[in-house]
Amino acid sequence: MALLETKDLSINFGGLWAVKDVDFTIDSQEVVGLIGPNGSGKTTFLNIISGIYPATKGTVHLRGEDITGLKPYEIFKKGMSRTYQSSRLCWDLSVVDNIMAGLVTKQKAGFLDVILRPKKTNDEIYQSVQECMDMISYFNPKLIDRRYELTKNIPHIDRRRIEISRALVGHPAVLLLDEPTAGLNDEETMSMMEDIRKIKEKMQDICIIIIEHDMKVMESVPQRIVVFNAGMKIAEGLYKDVVKDPDVVHAYLGGAAV
């Protein structure tokens, strides 16, 4: 049984099928890349499986359980976590607070605990901070010294790392990365690729779906590539095979290239 599986997944926006009849599976430990021209439905696909858009038809199963139509917070609790194309950080919160946001549903302290601050609450907070620091130091140990700085003062690549750490700190089963290298220069893109590999080393069972335009990343990071065009899945397989597929070349370069 696949860890995450979609069947006939489709969404219609006012008559336009932004995603249509997509069958997709991913197993634990797998890294799958989604590619396709702009507007081909990659991000919309992620938005449907993470519950932000309701599917018009089709189903999503996580570990065999039907999660179609669940709210984003419920899907998050089932073990799916994601990042967005543009930064979704709270600029006026510190590095550690931003990462802690990923643990908020796991914390048990209630209203009275916050007022009375018993030892167990303090321990819980201390432990959460520790987990967040462990996570971020894995990507960039220098951020430990900057943990109480506001994220608006942190460089772009480290902001990305903070977002990935926030998505990972709750130990999800599925991680969705939407263009993690957007806005990074070549050198930074290389270190981001390295970071994604590190995620696999640290959390071996995690499966990752990654959307990326940078073909260097797509060539080396994912084990398998799925190609979208006009809302439909048009190809799937190894990078070296997929890029030679006539449909894929046609989608990217137009009819004349084939």
Binding site: Y73, F76, Y84, C90, G170
Partner: protein, 320 residues
């Protein structure tokens, strides 16, 4: 000097009521990015529900049988329940249907709802000359010049007929509410979730925050704050008119804008600033009470021109 102190005191009292309404505005705006324009009317609705309950309790003899504190708490609870219910109805019928349309739609629909609330209060509370006579007569006659059906609000907080205790209670209650709200918003998981939604909705969605539940809770808390502000305003003005909500709401909204929408501390500063301008103009300009609101709103216009982000609001830069 004593005159100045009196004026300052009045301004603080008026500022307290404005502040609470302004906080209602910034709570709703903060969490949903929507201006709920009927905040003032919800508060006045709360005040009128307290007024009605008072009349009923009085006729049942409970007012004299029960200790005053208990009665006040009971009345306040009734007002809070009514405001909470009205807040939730506002959300359900005036805001939620327009979730996916432009921000103008809920703005217009809440303005319309405000008018509905106002007129319903006006219909339910026909001229009550009995209640009014007590207030208008006597040496401190109050001349009611506006409003169709002014009602006298029970002076519950003026223990032993002294307005000093009332004033102290108004300030104290406002401070307690502000502290509780501050604590709730900054220390509890729910309050922090509400702030997270206000700052970054997508982030909240994907960190496991139940956004729709948080919005409902915002309306519940907003209802509590508005009910208390209506109750305090009733005690302060001693006379309530069904259409008070309109001006009260606009003042509260202006206070929130001047302070910086989204910012609770800004709401306090804005509320106090507006109240100080009004009271000082009334106090020092000959025949000034007629101009008080005009000058206060000129201040608002000046703020919108020169500091549109508010006193402590942050400039938002849209990246294209």
């Amino acid at each position: 000097m004593e005159y100045l102190l009196d004026l300052i005191w009045s301004a603080v009292l008026l500022g307290c009521t404005y502040t609470l309404v302004a906080i209602g505005f910034s709570l709703f705006f903060g969490v949903m990015d929507v201006v709920v324009f009927c905040c003032g009317d919800i508060a006045i609705f709360g005040a009128f529900s307290i007024l009605a309950s008072y009349t009923i309790l009085n006729s049942l003899g409970i007012m004299t049988a029960w200790p005053l504190l208990l009665v006040i708490l009971l009345l306040l609870l009734i007002g809070i329940i009514f405001c909470m219910a009205l807040g939730l109805l506002t959300h359900r019928f005036s805001i939620k249907p327009f979730e996916k349309s432009s921000a103008l739609m809920p703005l217009l629909s809440t303005i319309a709802l405000g008018t509905v609330i106002r007129e319903v209060i006006g219909l339910m509370f026909m001229p009550a000359t009995n209640g009014l006579a007590d207030v208008v007569a006597g040496e401190n006659a109050i001349h009611v010049v506006s409003g169709r059906n002014p009602q006298s609000f029970p002076s519950l907080l003026s223990l032993g007929g002294s307005t000093d205790t009332r004033n102290i209670i108004i300030v104290a209650v406002t401070v307690v509410i502000l502290l509780l709200l501050f604590f709730f918003l900054n220390k509890t998981k729910m309050g922090l979730s509400m702030q997270a939604i206000s700052q970054n909705k997508e982030l909240s969605l994907m960190t496991g925050i139940n956004v729709s539940r948080s919005i409902v809770i915002t309306f519940v808390i907003g209802g509590v704050v508005l009910a208390i502000s209506g109750f305090l305003l009733g005690n302060y003005q001693t006379i309530m008119s069904f259409d008070n909500g309109s001006m009260f709401g606009i003042k509260g909204f202006s206070a929130a804008v001047v302070g910086g929408l989204r910012n609770t501390w800004g709401a306090i500063l804005g509320g106090m600033l507006l109240a100080f301008v009004e009271v000082m103009v009334s106090g020092y300009v000959p025949n000034g009470s007629a101009y008080a609101s005009i000058i206060a709103f000129v201040v608002v216009v000046v703020f919108i021109i020169f500091k549109p982000e508010g006193i402590i609001g942050e400039k938002t830069v849209e990246k294209v």
